[in-house]
Each structure stands twice: as structure tokens, then as C-alpha cells.
């Protein structure tokens, strides 16, 4: 019995914090999203009205919201596969039996992950500078004319994707490396006895054995990439021509610039639903692929 009381007493402070500052706000967000909470309600709560699903209805009819959804979708659809490919490729290279100094390379590839996003975004904004940026300078050597990376609506999001891949790929690389370590060595030995080439080893052993890790990592990465915010905030401020406004950026402006907290809460929930839907799809597709 004593142990039971102690258990509650030990768990209570953390549970209290998590309940008050996470569960209660999440549930309140659902309620706030059904009201017209705005600057007037912020000044005097009596101005608050219940509006049902109006916020959601208005959002689904707002071109700016769809623009943000499309931008975020593009960022996820291009950024996640690129990021995973870079992670997997670097994990395979660093893990190779032939590699020297693999600890150094692992640390080098991982370093961007721990850096402060805002700080390295400032660095990249400068690397991407149209006139003085080193990226355009390097491209000039192969005959490519200067690109206005962050000022051209067609290039701003791809530039942010490049930056995000650079910043993030080391994280999943570490997870892939651990998964590669756990593949039994005898599988490769047997394959070699049967005369399999390196590419066959990769396609027939390594990738199939990595499938559970791949699913997990892609779910986590998709959820992370959906939460795009600081990159456009620092690098483009959502521009040019709204081309880098993400769903979270939209939510931030709706909530903390225009103080439409009801509508902003609805945006937050729609984002959550999008993440859930894509996650469910990923799990489904993987299951189907395994069943085949």
C-alpha cells in the first residue's frame, strides 16, 4: 500500500504539469476553435460567441489557407523523401566496412542537427544571397545564371527544402545506422557465398530488413516537416507572394498578428488531422506492401 501512495506522489507533479499545460490546452483548443475568439473577446470575455463549425467552414473557403496547405504539402512531399534518401545514403556510407574515420563523419553529418535553427537559417539566407551568395557563385562555375533563391516564388520553397534537408538528415542517419548494425551478419555472408553483388545485397537484404525502421522514421519525419515555421519566419517572412507561407506560419499570423484565436485554433486542429491522415496512409501502404 505504501508503494502505491509513493507511486502516486512521485508521478503527481509531472502528471499535473502535463495535464494543466498540455491536455487542458489541447481540449480548450477544440472549444476555442468553435468560437469567434478575437481581439474583442480578449479584451472582454463577454464578447465571445459560439459559432459552431464556422471557423472551419471559412478556412476551407479561404484561398490563403489552401495556399498554406499546398506549400506545406509540397515541402513534405519533396522534403521528406529527399531527407530520408540523404539519411539512408549517408548511413550506408558511414557504416561501410571499408570506411575510415567513421566516427568523425558521423559527427560531421550530425552537427547541423544540434545547431539553432534560427542561427543557421540566417547563415543560409546569406549563402543563398543572389549577388554575394556562395551558392550562386558555385553555380556560375557550371554556367548557371544567378538564381534569386529567396526572392523568386518558384525557388523560395525549394531553397528552404535544401536547407531543411541539410539541417535534418543527420538525425535519421543515426537511427538508420543503428538499424543497419542490427542486421545479422550471416545474411550477408550467405549472400556472398551465393555470389550476390553489392547492389543485390542492398536490394534483397539491407532494404527489406530496414523496412520497419523506414516506416517509423518516415512517420516521425513527416510529422516534423508538417510543422514548418521558423525557416520561413527567418528566411522569407512567408514571401515572396505567399509562396513560403506554411500552415503553422498561417496559424501564427492568424493568431498572434490578427488575434483571430478561434480561427487559428481551427487551423491547429486541421494541421493535426492532416498529420494523422498522412500517418494512417503511411501505415496502410506499408502494411499492403508487406502483405504482397
Amino acid at each position: 500500500m505504501r508503494v502505491g501512495y509513493a507511486g502516486w506522489a512521485f508521478a503527481a507533479p509531472a502528471l499535473l504539469i502535463i495535464t494543466v499545460f498540455f491536455f487542458v490546452p489541447v481540449l480548450s483548443a477544440l472549444i476555442v476553435s468553435l468560437t469567434d475568439f478575437d481581439l474583442y473577446a480578449l479584451a472582454d470575455i463577454r464578447n465571445l460567441r459560439f459559432v459552431g463549425l464556422d471557423n472551419y467552414r471559412q478556412l476551407l473557403h479561404a484561398p490563403q489557407f489552401w495556399r498554406a496547405v499546398a506549400n506545406t504539402g509540397y515541402f513534405v512531399a519533396v522534403g521528406v523523401p529527399l531527407s530520408l534518401a540523404a539519411s539512408l545514403a549517408s548511413a550506408l556510407l558511414v557504416n561501410s566496412r571499408l570506411a575510415y574515420f567513421s566516427a568523425f563523419f558521423r559527427t560531421a553529418f550530425f552537427a547541423p542537427v544540434v545547431t539553432t535553427l534560427v542561427a543557421v537559417a540566417v547563415v543560409w539566407r546569406y549563402l543563398l544571397h543572389t549577388r554575394y551568395g556562395l551558392i550562386n557563385y558555385a553555380l556560375a562555375h557550371v554556367g548557371i545564371h544567378p538564381i534569386d533563391w529567396l526572392g523568386d516564388p518558384h525557388w523560395a520553397l525549394p531553397a528552404i527544402i535544401l536547407f531543411a534537408v541539410w539541417k535534418n538528415f543527420g538525425y535519421n542517419m543515426v537511427i538508420f545506422m543503428a538499424a543497419l548494425h542490427s542486421i545479422p551478419v550471416d545474411l550477408y555472408e550467405a549472400a556472398r557465398l551465393d555470389g550476390a553483388s553489392r547492389w543485390q545485397e542492398l536490394g534483397r537484404i539491407t532494404l527489406p530488413m530496414l523496412r520497419p525502421t523506414l516506416l517509423l522514421v518516415s512517420i516521425l519525419t513527416v510529422a516534423g516537416y508538417f510543422q514548418l515555421f521558423a525557416e520561413p519566419y527567418v528566411m522569407t517572412q512567408g514571401g515572396p507572394l505567399q509562396s513560403t507561407v506554411s500552415v503553422l506560419y498561417f496559424m501564427y499570423e492568424e493568431g498572434f498578428k490578427w488575434w483571430n484565436l478561434g480561427s487559428a485554433s481551427a487551423v491547429a486542429f486541421l494541421l493535426f488531422l492532416m498529420i494523422l491522415a498522412v500517418t494512417a496512409l503511411q501505415v496502410r501502404l506499408t502494411r499492403d506492401a508487406q502483405a504482397r
Binding site: 508521478a11 502528471l15 490546452p25 542561427a119 540566417v122 517572412q237
Partner: protein, 273 residues
């Protein structure tokens, strides 16, 4: 391909990739020592003509960056210490102390891991406003004092503590608090270092929430100050790079010294269950 040919190709790829990942960081460092305007040239210089500390001097002098450095440091330190205490208590309880409703609670927490933190952000802001905590450090520290990820990380590790050890202490008449401080905490030390590094880095690098609740310039953390500065001083590349160096260097140093612990945290976090 011969083995030596493969080895050369492999290292060429590795070196190329390392050059791409490290270059922006090294260049940031180099430009931070350049004189004002030097980096706004074509072709961009790789190294400063005459290294100078002028940018750092300006940051600490006119821009008051020492203040933001202190703010970031104290916020991250406070958050880390408090969350280590609360998460380790709860993580241990969920692993080793049988209390009522433990299993259903655990399932609820696990399920809630899928909810992005931004969903809670707007009501959390209103809550802070009603509590009068907007523009105080409490608004940043208090919600971060415990987290589901932290509780689970500690729990996974605490499961490995042998029950016999705890039972023996109970038979000897030790109180539960005493058992926690003299047996459990020492056993948890490695995972607490891991969680500590995670929390510190997370708090130091956090952007969106501090941006929302700390609007008073005197309270800014480094990332917020840097973002504001970079919107005002778009042209001062050298100054910005020095600011970026000051922001990145502390966390990079912390990571390099405790790398092993940090990577274990990633691996434990990714193989939940």
C-alpha cells in the same frame, strides 16, 4: 570494382558530403571575423583579409547580446533542472511503483505523443495571459517542467533496475524517498545525462513559444534576438554571422562533449514500446 577503388570512391563521397555539411558552419565562423561590408563582395571571400573582433564587440556593446546570452542560459538551465527532477520521479514511478490506474494512464500518455505541441499553443497563451505570466520566464519554464517524452525515456531505463535491490532497501526500513535518492537516482544517472542534454538543447533552440510569450525585448532569448536583429539588419552579414556563432557555439560544444548520451536518447526515443 576492386576493393581499393571502392575505398577511394567511398571516401571521396564521404569527404564531399562532410564538406557540404560543415561548410556553412565554418564559413559562418570565418565571416564573423570580417570587417563590416567585407563579405558583401563578389566573389565572396572565404577568409577575412584582416581578422577582427569588431562584430563581437558591437554585439556585446550596442546590441546588448550578453543579456540575451544570459537569458537563454538561465532559461535552459532552469528548465533542464526542474524537468529532470519531475520526469525522473514520474518515470521511476511508472516503471517500478505499482499504483492505481498506472497502466491506463501510461496508455493515455503514449497516445498523446502524436498530438503536435502547437495545438496547445493558443489556449496556453490565453492561460498564461489570465495567470499574468505573459512576459515572465515562468511562461516558458513551467509548461516545460515535465514532458511525456521525458517520462517515457526515464521509464524505459528505470525498468532495468532490479526489483530485489528496491525490496532489500524496503526490508531495511528505508523510506520511498530515501530509496529514490540513494538507489534510484544513481542508477538513472546515464539516462538523466541524456535527458538533460536533450532538454537543454531543446530549450536553447526553441523558437516559436518564446517568440509568442516573451514580447518584452529585455526578456528575449538568443534565437528571438537574432531573428529580430536579422530582420532589422538585413545588410550587416558579418554582424549576423557573429550573432549566429554565439548562438550555435554553446550547443555545439555541449553536443560534442556529450555526444554518446545524446545519440542514445535518439535511439531510445525511436524504438518506443
Amino acid at each position: 570494382m576492386s576493393v581499393s577503388g571502392a575505398r577511394v570512391l567511398l571516401h571521396a563521397l564521404l569527404l564531399g558530403a562532410a564538406a557540404i555539411t560543415l561548410f556553412p558552419l565554418l564559413w559562418m565562423l570565418s565571416v564573423s571575423f570580417m570587417a563590416g561590408g567585407e563579405a558583401s563582395a563578389f566573389p565572396p571571400p572565404l577568409l577575412p583579409a584582416h581578422g577582427t573582433l569588431a562584430n563581437y564587440r558591437q554585439l556585446f556593446g550596442q546590441q546588448n547580446i550578453g543579456r540575451y546570452l544570459t537569458n537563454s542560459l538561465s532559461l535552459a538551465a532552469m528548465t533542464t533542472l526542474l524537468s529532470l527532477l519531475l520526469n525522473s520521479l514520474a518515470g521511476y514511478a511508472f516503471a517500478k511503483l505499482h499504483f492505481r490506474a498506472r497502466e491506463p494512464l501510461l496508455r493515455v500518455l503514449l497516445a498523446a505523443l502524436v498530438i503536435p505541441s502547437q495545438v496547445a499553443m493558443l489556449p496556453l497563451f490565453l492561460m498564461m495571459k489570465w495567470l499574468g505570466l505573459v512576459n515572465t520566464y515562468a511562461a516558458v519554464v513551467v509548461p516545460a517542467m515535465a514532458g511525456i517524452f521525458g517520462v517515457f525515456l526515464v521509464r524505459q531505463y528505470a525498468l532495468t533496475i532490479p526489483d530485489e535491490l528496491l525490496e532489500a532497501a524496503r526490508i531495511d526500513g528505508a523510506s520511498e524517498l530515501r530509496i529514490f535518492t540513494s538507489i534510484v537516482l544513481p542508477a538513472l544517472r546515464p539516462i538523466l545525462v541524456t535527458l538533460g542534454v536533450f532538454t537543454f538543447l531543446g530549450s536553447w533552440n526553441d523558437f516559436m513559444w518564446p517568440l509568442i510569450v516573451l514580447t518584452d525585448q529585455g526578456l528575449y532569448t538568443l534565437p528571438i534576438a537574432l531573428a529580430t536583429l536579422s530582420r532589422e539588419h538585413v545588410q550587416d552579414n558579418e554582424l549576423m554571422m557573429a550573432g549566429a556563432v554565439l548562438t550555435v557555439l554553446p550547443v555545439l560544444a555541449l553536443f560534442l562533449s556529450l555526444q554518446r548520451y545524446y545519440i542514445r536518447g535518439i535511439l531510445m526515443g525511436s524504438v518506443k514500446g
